[in-house]
Symmetry: C2
Subunit: 494 residues, 2 copies
């Protein structure tokens, strides 16, 4: 791991030169934009992946404009500092964790929806707009922004773009990348560019928009996004839930839906451990004689949707599902999906959660779930599972009781074993959360050396000094590590 | 323009060193893989954009494997030659046009569908598989590959990926990029990499798959593609056609469909000039008292689809549409769309067609069509229009009679004016055909200097010697030009 974990703010340790430099930064930016207090530095030192290493930043910039971001990047470049961009800090891989000698640029104050064009079905938003705020704003105009990461109520559209966030409906509607038409990006040299377009189609030059999406702020800092929207009308949600006696039976149901040629708008799996945690917490009266819950949605309107929902209910029953329910009223649909929304917070009550994000071919879901169970037993750790089953994207949640360091060490071993198993089954180590820091070893296994070399070449081409979020997104041995300057930085300054 | 147009094969002019080198290439590859005869060199010297410059290649390699492509690239690198990859040569921008001192690698013999995985809804195909052959192969397994460029019966899936081809159904279903999960690519150093994944989702590392798609063989040569498929079942096509008294009335109908929140699976426009050409050729008995034809499709099943089709028919009538017809039988749907399919060949009968591919925000379609009409009048050229109206992607077809050099010069002026107008309306110079050679000046206007510099940096990072399809895809003044070596090449050899 490139950065030693520490919770001790280093602000007190800044030398005089650094302090003078920070004064210069403060002068460059609007009043109140720069935070240097130790509490603030601690607050902005990591995202939601507490297991990943971090060191507090030298300063936090609360940017209110693209120009603020550009000025900060230029300042950092001139002073040999790194820049870590941050949305709402809801990432789960450490992608926004602060690194040595860095300034964190928070985009949370850039929270304006700049434009909604109903005729063109697009919106332009600043990076700090919360996903759900965008969703609500466009819904008022009869439009729909599909990507719905579980964090949609708290994560930013810029962070969604920087990590290429997935979500529940992406089994049918695709991921963030599929909805981004264009970006405003601050590059490593502090220049601002507009990438992409506002038209429905366009192939002029390389797809630099797609290159930026999912690059976790290592190639540029996204400050505005132009998103494609769908009409809100014409969809009618129906939910189908069923409880299964085993993971295998639930896996059969998932395969049955696929082979029936049905593409549901959600197909989520929750295992016994999650169900029990939700039940213990909220006491819904969920059935206690069952193992695994599958929840599907379809959104075709009218009789078409009803027929699909009934067909899914049949497939669930055929695969051994019991208590199969079909909901056609939106309230009831939302109620049935509540257990899914509560699973993560219910588990977090049991201790720090190390979140996996492996994605396997959907036919391998049952086998992967079986391997995860075996891993949990072998390493004596608690692992609960929620899964975007229709995508093959699993979130084994490894839980270690607070303060139990031995359990924490076993959890990390389990984490690595799950990564290895997913690769053995033809999967990918991260389906939607991003590499950040947590998946660097996994990415090193997944990406062949020549492909890693392509990453390095592109990083060098666009950020020769290694300024932007160094050491994230792909394993780069040359990135600055710990508190010292790396080769990359030295080269950049030469 | 970087390359002088010539139709004279240069094979006779190869010097002894080059001839000896070619013997070495012949020895490296399977028997019959290398063509050096002047007729073959002429055959492979350009794609379907006869207006773009080209010089015949030194040799043509008919690759039968990724290894053949890799061996050719390594040979070219060692001998200071360029490599131009080519699918079926159906491109319309000169992207596959042969350049000075190059070897053309044709992928047409790599025509095997390697795998269809029904459960995972994916297929793996060699680059030379014809789009329609893939379509038929997966349909036999109940699956559907949506991207449908007009050339689907003759263009290759590798060429579709290299240009990020669009098509008629992409107004609803997206373009080629949206269906490519992974690629096998031969890089400029002759190494072969696999990019992307086989899972439904995945965000490990940079999206190099998306970077390769649409890069027109300038960053690597795509030899295999892994595509995502949809279920074939569940769609029922219905067509709605209407004739309009003016382009403006048709434009109103397009806007009406959008503002009704309907996303049709096709929305095509054909103007009077095209209608007349089709009618003169085939004599369908199309109405003669009309100006513009709009053809829409919806594919929702059952009563939902019927209601949408009826709603579109209403919108057409409200906007002034006459002879509005609604077809629900597939035969009738195909018959109604036949005029669309015949438009291009009908116009080619009138003389060489210079095909535009501008894309504007869909609300600007009527204004853009008006400007095109004015351009035609101002420059005294014949311009017919077919358009993916629902996407704002227009194909003004500029026709100059054979042998009329003055008309050809006027056609080029009109071409440039249309590009400028599309940019003035917030559009992009190429919606789906690619930059190739024809749109280099347009791309230079559309892409800001810093974005062009990003292109150069990435090209240099992945192809430092400027070996792969030099001078295409983006304006790069350093690419080798004419018959001499460029800076890029010199640097690469240094």
């Amino acid at each position: 791991m490139p950065h030693p974990t520490t919770a001790t703010p280093s602000a007190g340790g800044i030398d005089l030169a650094a302090e003078l430099a920070l004064r210069e930064l403060i002068a460059l930016l609007p009043e109140g934009a720069v935070l240097v207090g130790s509490a603030a530095l601690a607050d902005y030192s990591h995202d939601d992946a507490e297991w990943a290493p971090f060191v507090p930043p030298l300063a936090v910039v609360l940017a209110t404009s693209t120009d603020d971001v550009a000025a900060t990047v230029r300042f950092a470049g001139a002073n040999g500092l790194a820049v870590v961009a941050r949305g709402a800090g809801t990432g789960l891989s450490g992608g926004a964790n602060s690194v040595a000698d860095c300034i964190v640029v928070s985009l949370e104050r850039m929270d304006r929806v700049l434009e909604i064009d109903v005729g063109e079905r697009l919106a332009v938003a600043q990076a700090g707009v919360i996903n759900n705020a965008l969703r609500i704003a466009v819904a008022e105009q009869g439009l729909w922004y599909p990507p719905d990461p579980a964090s949609y109520a708290i994560s930013t559209i810029g962070g969604n773009a920087a990590t290429n966030a997935g979500g529940i409906c992406c089994v049918k509607y695709g991921v963030t990348r599929d909805y981004i038409l264009g970006l405003t990006v601050v590059l490593a040299d502090g220049q601002t560019v507009r990438l992409g377009r506002r038209t429905a189609k366009g192939v002029t030059g390389y797809d630099l928009t797609a290159l930026m999406i999912g690059s976790e702020g290592t190639l540029g800092i996204i400050t505005e996004v132009t998103v494609k929207l769908l009409p809100l009308a014409g969809r009618e949600e129906r939910a189908i839930v069923g409880y299964f006696p085993s993971l295998t039976a639930a896996g059969d149901a998932v395969a049955g839906v696929a082979s029936a040629g049905i593409v549901p708008s959600a197909l989520e799996l929750i295992d016994r451990m999650c169900l029990r945690a939700v039940e213990d917490w909220q006491g819904f009266g969920l059935p206690s004689d069952v193992d695994t819950l599958l929840m599907a949605k379809v959104d075709e309107p009218g009789s078409t949707g009803l027929a699909l929902a009934e067909r899914i209910a049949e497939i669930f029953a055929l695969a051994g599902g019991v208590h199969v329910e079909l909901a056609t009223e939106q309230d009831e649909v939302d109620r049935l999906f509540l257990a899914r929304r509560l699973a993560y917070p219910a588990l977090e009550r049991l201790g720090p959660v190390l979140t996996e994000d492996v994605c396997v071919p959907r036919g391998r879901v049952p086998e992967m779930l079986g391997r995860i169970q075996a891993t949990a037993e072998r390493h004596d750790v608690v692992i609960a599972n929620i899964a975007h089953a229709g995508d093959g994207n699993l979130h084994p949640l490894i839980i270690a009781p607070v303060g139990d360091e031995a359990a924490k060490a076993r959890a990390k071993e389990a984490f690595d074993e799950i990564v290895a198993d997913c690769l053995a089954l033809g999967g990918t180590v991260t389906g939607e959360h991003g590499v950040g820091l947590l998946k660097l070893p996994g990415a090193a296994q997944e990406l062949e050396p020549r492909v890693l070399a392509m990453h390095r070449a592109i990083k060098d081409a666009l950020d020769p000094a290694g300024l932007l979020n160094p050491g994230k997104a792909f394993p780069d041995q040359r990135a600055r590590t710990g508190s010292g300057a790396s080769d990359a930085r030295t080269r950049g300054e030469a």
